[in-house]
């Protein structure tokens, strides 16, 4: 789990996960188009995500596609969230969203 938290502790890598969440199964080239990073930089971040099992590469013919793997996040969820009162967390999260939405309205 150490590897997972380290992998998640970086804005660019979280953005890579978001890009895969929006469109799962992308090549390195396709992922590079979303970011203002060099190809080696994206490849390095992907390697760290793969080492943490957060991203898995699968071959489709000659194309290497990268997929999100929810397994480590599921483990974190069960370890750190599941044991708390989910309903209460949801209620607080809804409250936060409602208050923030109200704050934004008067603009």
């Amino acid at each position: 789990m150490e590897l997972v938290f380290k992998a998640l502790a970086d804005n660019s890598r979280r953005a890579l996960l978001d890009a895969l969440h929006a469109q799962n199964g992308q090549t390195l080239n396709a992922l590079c188009e979303h970011f203002d990073m060099t190809r080696p930089a994206v490849a390095k971040h992907l390697a760290i995500l793969e080492a943490a099992n957060l991203v898995v590469p699968l071959w489709h013919g000659r194309e290497k596609l990268h997929y999100l793997n929810p397994e480590p996040l599921q483990a974190i969820h069960e370890r750190w969230i599941g044991k708390f009162d989910k309903q209460r967390i949801q209620a607080l999260s809804n409250l936060k969203r409602a208050l923030e939405a109200q704050q934004e309205k008067p603009k």
């Binding site: 199964g25 997929y67 793997n69 929810p70 397994e71 599921q74």
Partner: protein, 140 residues
Amino acid sequence: MNTHSFVYVTTIRTTPAQLWRALIEPEFTLQYWNRRIESAWHVGAPVTHHLGDGTVETGTVLAWDPPRRLAYTFEHDDADLKDTQVTMTLAPAGDNVKLTVVHDGLSDTAHRAVGAGWPGVLSSLKTVLETGRALGWATS
């Protein structure tokens, strides 16, 4: 229509033979999936899922290569999963087995549904196999 794939890779402390049984035997699937899966298990054979709530889902075996690769479709009309396929690949890794589950052909709705469903099911599968909880099988 643009379709999505859902992918889940997990490492389970078990043997390929035991994991294979867990994927295809109704007494096992009931433990972690709350459904009994029944099939004659050969390519082209129908697959029937008897869900805990009495619903029945159907499909067809696409690949049968024990204990390495299993694939079947979901075909029942009334569900988001109609015309989708799931492929399960087992690879020994030391004392563990790496299980790769790929669910292809998903619409936006189906992708959200399996994204919410598979992680819990596959996490339970890992727990059931690693702890043997509620299972009466020998470990040999």
